[in-house]
Amino acid sequence: MIGALLAAPTALVTDNWWDIRDLSNLSGAILDLIEDAGGPGWLTYVVGALLGTLGIVSFIGGVAIINIWIERRVVGRMQSRLGPNRVGPFGLLQPVADAIKLMQKEVLQPRVADGLVFTVAPIAFTVPGIALLAVIPWGRNMVLADLDVGIVFLFAMSSLAALAVFIGGYGSNNKYALFGSMRVIAMLVTYEIPIVLSLLGVVMFAGSMNLNQIVLFQADNWLFLIMLQPLAFLIYFLSSSAELNRTPADLAEAESEIAGGYHVEYSGMKFGLYYAAELINAVAVSTIIATVFLGGWWLYKIDEIVPGWMIVIGKIYAVYFVFIWTRGTLPRFRIDQLLAFAWKWMTPMAIINILLVAGEVVLWEETGWSAGLLLPLYIAINGAMTAVLIVAWVRVMAPKFQRYPDRPRMYDGIDVPSLPAPASIGPTAPGAAPARRATV
C-alpha cells in the first residue's frame, strides 16, 4: 500500500479512502458506509455537511490557538526578544494557558451595559469569520459549499462583522468603547468599497465568482493571479488589513489613544472570544488571499504529491506572516488620514484597475488569441501599470511634507534670532500658530 502511495507521484490522486491527499475520499467513504447501511437520503446529506463543518471548525479552532503563539513569537523576534518560552516546550502551551486563564476569569458586565447586546456582540463577531471558510476550496473536490456566488458570500460575511463590532462597543456603554466602535464603523464601511472593487478585477479575469473556478483558472493558465493583478492584490491587502483593525490601521483598539477601543469593558471568555475572533478573521482573510491571488490548492504540479489542503495552509501562513510583519513595524494612521487614504487613493486606483482589466478581457475574448501569448503580455502591462500608477498617485496626492528636510540642521554655537515678544499675552498666547492641518 505504501509502495502505491510512493510510486504514484505522477499518478493523479487515487480515490481510495486512505489517500489523505484528498480528504473528500474519506468523507465519501463514510457516506457510502451510511448508504450501504440503508440510511435515509437526507441523513447522508446532513452527515456530509456535518463532516465538512467539523473539519473546518477544528481547523479554525486549532489555528486560532496556534496563531496566538506564532504571532507572539514572530513579533518577539522582530523586537529582538524571545517571545513566550516558559510554558511548555518553546512556550507552545502558552496559548493554551491563556485560553484556560480567560475561561476561568469572571465575566464582568458593567451595570449600565445593555445585557443582550453585550453578550451577543462577541458571538456575532466570531461567526462570520468562521462562516467565511465554508466557501474556500481546500482540494480539487474538497469544498464544503461550492457556491456559485463565492466571492459575494465573502463580502456579505465581512459586512456582518461590522454590525457586530458596533453593537459591542455601543452595548458596553463606555465613552472609550463608543469612540472605538464609531471609528470601526467608519473604517469598515469605507474599506468595503476598495475590497469589492479590487476582487472585481480578479473575477473578471477568472470569468466566474466560484472560488473553485478561480483556482482552476489559475491552474489551467499556469500562473497565479497575483502576477496578473498586482494592483488588485495591493489594494486588497491594505484594505483588508484596515478591515481587520490590524496595524497600520488598528484604530479601533488603539491602546495609546482610546485605551482598548470597543472591547475595553469585556473580560473573561467574552474578551477571549473577541481576541480569538480577531485571529480567526485574520486567518480567514489570509485564506481568501491565498485562494484568490496565490492559487489555492494548486501549486505547479506539486499538488499531486503534496495534499492540496497542506499547500493552502502553507500559503495562509505565508500571507499571515506578512500581516504580522506590518503589525510589528508600522505605526498607526490617524482616523481621518485612514479614511482619506481609502477614498482618495484606494478607490480611484481600483476603478482604474477594473477599466484596464475590462479592456484586456474583451481583447482576449474578441481576438481569441491563445492564452500563452496574451497572458505574459498582460502580466507585463499590469505590472508596469501598477508601478506607474502608484508613483504618479504619490506625486499628485501626497501631502506636501517635504517642505522641511527630514533631518535637523546642525549649529556648533548658540544662535538666537532677535524676535519681538508676542504682542499681548493672554492665557493662550496669540503667538501660537494655528494648527496647520496635514491634509492627506
Binding site: 497600520p248 482610546i258 498607526r332 522641511y404 556648533d412 501660537a432
Partner: protein
C-alpha cells in the same frame, strides 16, 4: 450646516497607557477635535523642596535622582554644581571628565526612552520601544558597573564623583560607543526618520513658534525644535563642555517630528562627546574630600545644566548652616508644559497624545 454635537469631557490619565506616569489631561472635545485642555498635576508631589531644608547638602543629593528618574546623573550634576559654585569648591580634572561622560550617557538613555515612547504613542506596536530599551539597558549596565545603581545612581558628590571607574569600564564603554550604538542608531533611523506614516502623524502636530518658545521660557528639544539654537552646554559651558566640540541639532517647524529627530541627532552628538572625553581622560583624584556637614558661606547661587528634558536649574540659598535655607529646582518638564494648551487645542485626541509624547515630560520632575 454642520452636525450639531455637544461637547464631551474626556479624562486622559492619570491611569492611561501613554501619559508617561501619573499626569492627567482633561480634554473637552467636540467629536474628535479638542476644544479645551486642562492639566491636572500633583499626583506625585513629595514636596522635596521642604524636605531638602531639613537635610545637609550631601543628604540632598539622592533627592535629585528621584526627581527626573530617567536622567538621575544630570540631576545630581546640576545640584552638585550649584553647591560647588556656592561653596567655591574646586573639582579635580578627572572628575570633570567623568561627570561629562556620565551626563552624556544619561542623555542617550533618556532620549532612547523618549524616542521609544514617542513612536509607541504614534502607534507602532512596541517594536521601536523594544529596540530603544535594549540599547538603554546597555547604558544602564555601565552605570551599574560604576555606582551599583541603574536608575537612581546617586553618583555625583560635592567636589567630584563618588567612586572612580573600575578597570573594565573603559573597554566596555569603548565597545558600546564605537561599534554597538552607532549601528543601533543607524537601524533606528532607517525605521523611523522619513517614515511616511510617522511624517503624517507627527508633522504639523503640536507646533510651537519661535516667539512663543522664548516667551514661554521653553528649553531643551522644545526650544531647539522651534528653530532657536539654544543649548546650555554651549551657552554656559560647565564641566569640560568648552573643551569638546559637538553640534546642536535645530528643527525647522517646531512640531513633534522635529523634536523626535532632534533627540535622535543629540544621541549621536553625545557619542562624539564621549569619544573625545574618553580619549583625553586625565589621571588623578576623582574627588576632593569635603566635610560631610559642609557649611557654605551665607548667600545664594543659581546654576543650570542641559538635562535631556531641558534647562535644569538649581537655586540654593544658604544661611551658613549645614542645611540649605532654600532649595529650589527649575523643572524643565513643568515649564515645557506651559504651552500644552496652545499646542493641542484644535487638534484631535490622537494628535494630543502624540504631542504629549513629543514634549517628553517626566512626572517626577513636574510634581517634585
Amino acid at each position: 450646516m454642520a452636525i450639531k454635537s455637544d461637547l464631551v469631557e474626556v479624562n486622559i490619565g492619570p491611569q492611561h497607557p501613554s501619559t508617561h506616569g501619573v499626569f492627567r489631561m482633561v480634554a473637552i472635545i467636540d467629536g474628535e477635535r479638542i476644544v479645551d485642555v486642562k492639566m491636572v498635576v500633583g499626583y506625585l508631589h513629595r514636596s522635596m523642596e521642604k524636605l531638602a531644608e531639613e537635610r545637609t547638602y550631601t543628604q540632598n543629593i539622592p533627592f535629585t535622582d528621584r526627581m527626573d528618574y530617567l536622567a538621575a546623573m544630570t540631576g545630581n550634576l546640576g545640584y552638585v554644581l550649584s553647591v560647588e559654585k556656592l561653596a567655591g569648591v574646586e573639582v579635580p580634572e578627572r572628575a570633570q571628565y567623568l561627570r561629562t561622560i556620565f551626563a552624556e550617557l544619561q542623555r542617550i538613555a533618556s532620549h532612547e526612552m523618549a524616542t521609544g515612547a514617542f513612536i509607541n504613542d504614534c502607534g507602532a506596536w512596541q517594536t521601536p520601544v523594544m529596540w530603544c530599551f535594549r540599547d538603554r539597558e546597555k547604558v544602564l549596565d555601565l552605570f551599574e558597573m560604576v555606582c551599583g545603581a541603574r536608575i537612581t545612581t546617586n553618583y555625583m558628590r560635592i567636589g567630584g564623583v563618588a567612586f572612580d571607574i573600575p578597570d573594565e569600564f573603559l573597554p566596555a564603554l569603548d565597545r558600546l560607543i564605537n561599534d554597538d550604538l552607532p549601528r543601533r542608531f543607524e537601524e533606528l533611523e532607517q525605521l523611523i526618520v522619513g517614515n511616511e506614516i510617522i511624517l503624517m502623524r507627527a508633522r504639523d502636530v503640536g507646533i510651537v513658534t519661535p516667539e512663543l518658545a522664548i516667551n514661554a521660557s521653553l528649553s531643551g528639544p522644545m526650544i531647539r525644535s522651534a528653530g532657536i539654537a539654544w543649548d546650555i552646554r554651549k551657552a554656559d559651558p560647565y564641566c569640560v563642555y568648552d573643551r569638546v566640540n559637538f553640534d546642536i541639532p535645530v528643527g525647522y517647524n517646531g512640531d513633534s517630528y522635529d523634536r523626535m529627530v532632534i533627540r535622535i541627532e543629540e544621541m549621536k552628538q553625545s557619542l562624539r562627546i564621549i569619544r573625545q572625553c574618553m580619549s583625553d581622560l586625565p589621571a588623578g583624584p576623582h574627588k576632593v574630600d569635603v566635610p560631610l556637614a559642609l557649611r557654605p558661606p551665607a548667600g545664594e547661587a543659581y546654576s543650570r545644566v542641559e538635562s535631556p528634558k531641558g534647562e535644569l536649574g538649581f537655586y540654593v540659598v544658604s544661611d551658613g548652616s549645614s542645611a540649605p535655607y532654600r532649595w529650589h529646582v527649575r523643572p524643565p518638564s513643568l515649564i515645557n508644559l506651559t504651552v500644552l494648551r496652545e499646542m493641542t487645542v484644535g487638534q484631535t485626541i490622537a494628535d494630543a497624545i502624540v504631542t504629549l509624547g513629543s514634549i517628553d515630560i517626566n512626572v517626577g520632575e513636574v510634581d517634585r
